[in-house]
Structure formats: C-alpha cells, structure tokens
C-alpha cells in the first residue's frame, strides 16, 4: 500500500503559525498562545508552570493506566539585544547555539512588535580578498533596524525573519526545530488514547540546556517519557563522492528513533516498542546515528528517581539557521508512529527490568 502524505489546509496553517511565532528560549509566550488556540476545545485543564512550560494532562479511561509524558520544546534559537550604538543599530548576543558564519546579511524581526531589521555586513565593494577569507566575529556584527526612533531596548529578542512555505514534498521555514514536534504533540492531544494518561508537555528553554523539561518531568512524575524533536539531516552527497557516513539522519526515511545521543541512552524497552509498532503498522523509520547532541530526554530521564525515556525526531536540514527544510512525509509518519505507539502501550510495559 502506498501512503499519500497530504496535509489538510488547517494543518498547514497550524505549522505556518507555529513556525512564524517568535519564541526564543525564555520568551515562549507567542508559541504558547498559538498552541492554546489549537487545543483549548480539546482539554479540560492545563497548567503553565513557573518556568513557562505548558502542561496538559489527558486522562484515559482504561484501568491501570501508565502516565506517559510526551514532550516537545516551544523555544527556538535566536538573538538578544545587548546595547544600542545609536540610529537603530544594535549589538546582540546569540541565544542557543548558532553558527555566527550564517549571520551576515540575514533579515531578522526584533522585539514584541516584530520590527524588521537586518544583520549588516560591509558590502563586497568595500572588502578585500583577504577580508573575505575570515569569519566576521559576533562582536563586529550589528542588527540595523533603519531608524533611530524606536522602542527597542537591551534585553529585547530577535529571530530570523523567514516566511514558512510548503514546497512540493517539503516544508521550509525557521524554527522547524522544534515546532514540528509541537505540531505532533497538538495532534496527539486532539486524538488522545484511552489506554494511558497522556501528559503533554510543551517545554521551554530546551536550546539552552533542556531547563524547562527538567522541572516539567519533576512535577509530572511520569512512568515513562517520549520526546519529539527535530534532528539535523546532513544527508547531502559528500563533496568527493565518498560514501557519506555521517548523515546523522536522512530526509524522507521516516521518524528518527534515538538509541543514544550525547545526553541520553534511550531505554531499550521503549526503542523496541517504537520499532515493533512501526513495523506492525508499516510506518517507515530510521535509527538516528548514535553520536552527540541532546534532547529534553537528557534531563527528563534523570528526574524523580529515574524515568525511562526515548526520543523520536523529524529530520531537518539546516537546523539553527534562517531556513530549515523538512519533508511532509516525515512529519506525517511521526504523527502516525507516535499515535500508534501510545495506543499500543500496555500497563505491564515496564514490568520487566530495563534491558
């Protein structure tokens, strides 16, 4: 059976709203508002904790239900205004990991009013060949909003100014890491299973060290946790036609299941559950290459006496830059895999010791 991967117009609009919402770490309010608009009619209760995590429990009706946390982070990488040099020109810092080489010439949105600006750099006319060999350091870059009269103050935030768009089989936009995961979690809330208590956790401050997830897991004390994130895909052919052995994940090959990254050794029982569910349901999946990096699972699994955890990611090219690229099919398959996996959870899933 060949599955088709279509998004309804409504789903596309949700993805667009989520991608274009401005929500760097520590200032996730716009994203939270988009989520609340979507889920309000499906939930009876929600909680926004001290750090800003949006925590929603949907209780099932079966007996002996496990408490299953599913987490996706609302925040994105971006910038914070550090000082004004006058005439609407600002020094700034990066929030989260950003490759400074990516910045010169990029369009940004600054402050609560989404004031457009640009990260300026000297034009090619006025640079020498040797200038162009060296990276411009962050302390020589400025955000220029073009006018001296403005309400922008140090501490205000900025994000890449990128319009979300659907391009054939792909989705392009900023902050796909992890608004795609957020969208998956919204779908799970709308179709919550009866066999478990779903603890949907939209977390804050993942990009600066999974700080929100840590307190969310502590307060929700789930029996187990899934994290839905986006992992980089470095799947282009190698420049010298050698076999690419360090792709991390590949676009179009389905949700990427984690065995290990720099922060978590996934619980083998949950890895098996995901793989077996995918195989049973005919959903493609890939194993994310073991390596570095980390997701919210890194702090969740160590909380409150230990929480068996695993991550599933939607592969995305060009993560943490102005324009990410992901496949619709990977997004849809991740929704399907997570729905099927949650539905297949039995109360005795963790009765056997970890192995």
């Amino acid at each position: 059976m060949v599955k088709t991967f279509s998004l309804t117009k409504k789903q596309t609009i949700i993805l667009e709203k989520l991608s274009q919402a401005m929500g760097i770490s520590g200032d996730e309010g716009e994203v939270r508002a988009v989520i609340m608009d979507e889920i309000r009619s499906y939930i009876s209760d929600h909680h926004i904790d001290a750090l800003g995590n949006l925590l929603v429990t949907r209780q099932g009706s079966a007996n002996n239900r496990l408490k299953v946390m599913v987490a996706a982070h609302m925040d994105e990488v971006g910038f914070m205004i550090a000082a004004e040099d006058g005439e609407g020109i600002f020094r700034f810092e990066c929030i989260g990991s950003i490759d400074v080489r990516q910045l010169p010439g990029k369009s940004v949105l600054v402050g609560n009013n989404h004031q457009p600006g640009v990260i300026g750099a000297r034009p090619i006319h006025l640079t020498t060949a040797s200038d162009r060999q060296t990276r411009i350091p962050l302390d020589k870059l400025r955000i220029d909003i073009g006018q001296g009269k403005n309400p922008i103050k140090p501490g205000d935030h900025a994000v890449f100014n990128t319009s979300f768009r659907r391009v054939g089989p792909s989705l392009a936009g900023k902050a796909l890491d992890d608004r795609l995961g957020v969208a998956v979690l919204i779908e799970l809330i709308k179709d919550a299973p009866e066999n478990i208590d779903l603890q949907a956790s939209f977390t804050v401050q993942e990009e600066i060290g999974s700080r929100g997830a840590r307190v969310a897991a502590f307060s929700m004390k789930p029996d187990l946790a899934f994290v839905v994130d986006s992992t980089p895909a470095n799947d282009l052919p190698a420049w010298d036609d050698e076999e690419n052995a360090t792709y991390n994940s590949k676009l179009g090959e389905g949700p990427a299941i984690y065995v290990t990254d720099g922060a978590t050794l996934s619980d083998p029982r949950l890895i098996r559950l995901l793989k077996e569910t995918a195989e049973k349901e005919g959903i493609p999946y890939q194993i994310r290459q073991p390596g570095g990096g980390g997701t919210d699972a890194g702090t969740i699994h160590k909380q409150a006496g230990g929480i068996p955890s695993v991550s599933v990611s939607i592969p995305g090219r060009y993560a943490h830059t102005a324009a990410g690229l992901a496949r619709v099919s990977d997004y849809v398959n991740t929704v399907e895999l997570m729905k099927a996996t949650l539905r297949s959870i039995q109360p005795d899933l963790l009765a056997q010791e970890r192995k």
């Binding site: 996934s266 160590k302 068996p308 970890r354």
Partner: protein
C-alpha cells in the same frame, strides 16, 4: 575474591546495557541483603539493615557499567563505523577485539596510516565482523559492543578490562558478605551509566535519599614512567579521596575515614585527583545536599585494555569499608 573479580570483569555490560552484569551481581548479593530492587534506570539497589541506634541511611555506590562502542553506520562493503560510549581513547582501539551485545564478535581495523606518529581518530576506525555488504552484516545501527579483554592474575597484581569499576563492585560485594553487624541502613547501589555522566546515580540517589554517601571507584596513580603528577601509588593502600575533578569530599567524612583506617591499622593514601570524578559528585547534590566521600582503589592504565590493580589494595579496601560500616559515625 579473585574468581569473583574475574567473573565481574569478563562480563560485557556497556553503559545503558547493564543487564548481564546486574544478573551476576544480583546473584552474589541477594542472599546477604534484606531487600533487592531495580529502579527505572536499571540501578541495582540491595538494602541491608534498618536505621538502628546512632545509625544512618547510607548509600554506597559503585558503578557496574563500562565503556564501549556503538555502531553508527554500515558502509556499502559491510564495515561498521562506530562511536564511543563513555571515555574511549582511540589509541587503545586499533587491532582490538569486540563483542556485540547480540554475541557477534568483531575486530577493529583502521584506514591507511599516513603518519605513524599520529593516532587514528575514532572516525577513521571501523569494525570488521566478516560481512561484505549492509545486507549480510549481522549488526544494525545502534547495536552496542564491548571490548574482549580477558582477566589475568599476576599474583599481587590483577589485570583486566573494566576494573573501572567492577573492582568497586567487588569491594561492595565482599563487604556485604563480610559485614557482621551494622547500626546503619545500608544501600549497596550498583549504578548504571556512570561512564556517560553519572546518570544512574542521579536517579538512584534521589530514590534512596541518603544521609551519607560513599562511592567506590578506581583512581589514577602517579607511579609509572612520566605519568601524571599524583601522590597515589599502586600497593600503598586504598585511597581516601579529598578532591577530584567534580567534587570536594566533605572534610568530616574524610576525617572519619582516616580515623577509622588509623584505628584499624589499615594502610591508606590521601587522594587528590585532578580530572575525572565519581558517582559521589551527584549524590552530594541530591535533595537538600548529602555529606559524601569516596574510597578509591588505585588503578593503572584506566580505560585501556589492561587496567591494573593491586591485590592488597583491594583486600584493604574491603577491610576499611567493612570497618567504616560496622560502627556509628560521628561527623
């Protein structure tokens, strides 16, 4: 004792995949414990005793995981690229043998050496399991391997892989067996995932909520040619840790350990370790804070195929730990 150490060090259990070593240790400690449980991260917790008069709730932690490798890519000719679990040093790998958790053996090969003076990095190494394509390769991405490095006994010295920290586990196992009576509620905790960042201890310490914590682990030595500067020598007794790369031991705990060793006439060394740390680091920060210390077993060539400990040091560590746990503690 030596046969126990051989059994422990020849069991394969990299971080996150501790099921085999957990079974071996469980069989050893269960007859001597009042209660044995396994927590969500796979830590094995054996409780002995209840808090008696002048007693405390004490967590003893030795980690049962070891460093290992994990497959990250099967290339078009069936060679397995891999990455490390824990602090694997690439110069110890080339030519070594591994066993995957599913029982498949392999050897570690490397790309062409262009400069004999330079170590190949992990990304230049691969595992050969005799396959010729991804299709006939019995290993999948994400499969875990550990090192095939047999134990051998040199008399007053013992050599094996994973002395770090199966020797700490052995000291705890022998202590639970030899302990006659104790005023304390003792949690012999065989932790998981230490080598990737003390993760098992974070979870188990939270669950135990101890009033005092001690880790049992190996420490480096400064007694080999041009080694690091360090005042610990093999054979001079177990080491009482004062400081390492992640922890300052509680001075009261250090003094109690020294007093006890002196009283029992057990040789010991004072340990300052510049880099590296143990489970005690995270036990210290549990709940509202816990006084901690660490009893170290000096070990040469840590994280190499041949980790070496001194038999007398091990025996003295067991004596000291038994003495420490046998009497009330004044801090």
């Amino acid at each position: 004792m030596k046969s126990l150490i051989q059994k422990l060090t020849e069991t394969f259990s990299p971080s996150g995949y501790e099921q085999d070593i957990r079974q071996v240790i469980r069989a050893e400690v269960e007859p001597y414990a009042d209660e044995v449980r396994i927590d969500p991260l796979g830590n094995l917790i054996a409780r002995k005793g209840k808090v008696g008069k002048n007693g405390r709730r004490i967590m003893l932690a030795g980690h049962m995981d070891e460093i290992g490798l994990i497959a990250s890519h099967i290339d078009e000719n069936g060679f397995i690229r891999f990455t490390a679990i824990g602090g694997v040093m690439p110069h110890t790998l080339l030519g070594g043998r591994v066993n995957f958790v599913n029982g498949v053996p392999g050897v570690i090969g490397g790309e062409r050496i262009m400069d004999i003076g330079k170590t190949l990095s992990i990304s230049q190494l691969f595992i050969d399991v005799g396959a010729s394509s991804p299709k006939n390769c019995p290993i999948q991405i994400g499969d875990v391997a550990s090192f095939d490095r047999p134990f051998f006994d040199m008399g007053h010295r013992m050599v094996a892989k994973s002395m770090d920290d199966r020797i700490g586990c052995a000291v705890m196992i022998e202590t639970i067996k030899s302990l006659k009576s104790s005023p304390h509620e003792l949690y012999f905790t065989f932790t998981t995932q230490e080598e990737v960042g003390l993760r098992g201890a974070v979870a188990s310490a939270f669950g135990i909520d101890p009033e005092l914590g001690l880790s049992l682990d190996v420490t480096g030595t400064g007694d080999t040619p041009k080694s690091r500067k360090m005042d610990v020598k093999l054979g001079n007794g177990p080491a009482i840790k004062i400081k390492d790369g992640g922890m300052l031991s509680d001075p009261r705990v250090v003094q109690w350990m020294i007093r006890t060793a002196e009283k029992e006439k057990i040789p010991f060394q004072r340990e300052i370790l510049e880099s590296g740390t143990t489970d005690a680091t995270v036990i210290q920060l549990t709940h509202s804070g816990v006084p901690v210390g660490c009893l170290s077993i000096p070990c040469r060539y840590i994280h190499s195929p041949s980790e070496m400990v001194d038999t007398n040091d091990v025996e003295n560590a067991i004596k000291l730990l038994t003495a420490l746990m046998s009497a009330p503690i004044r801090l």
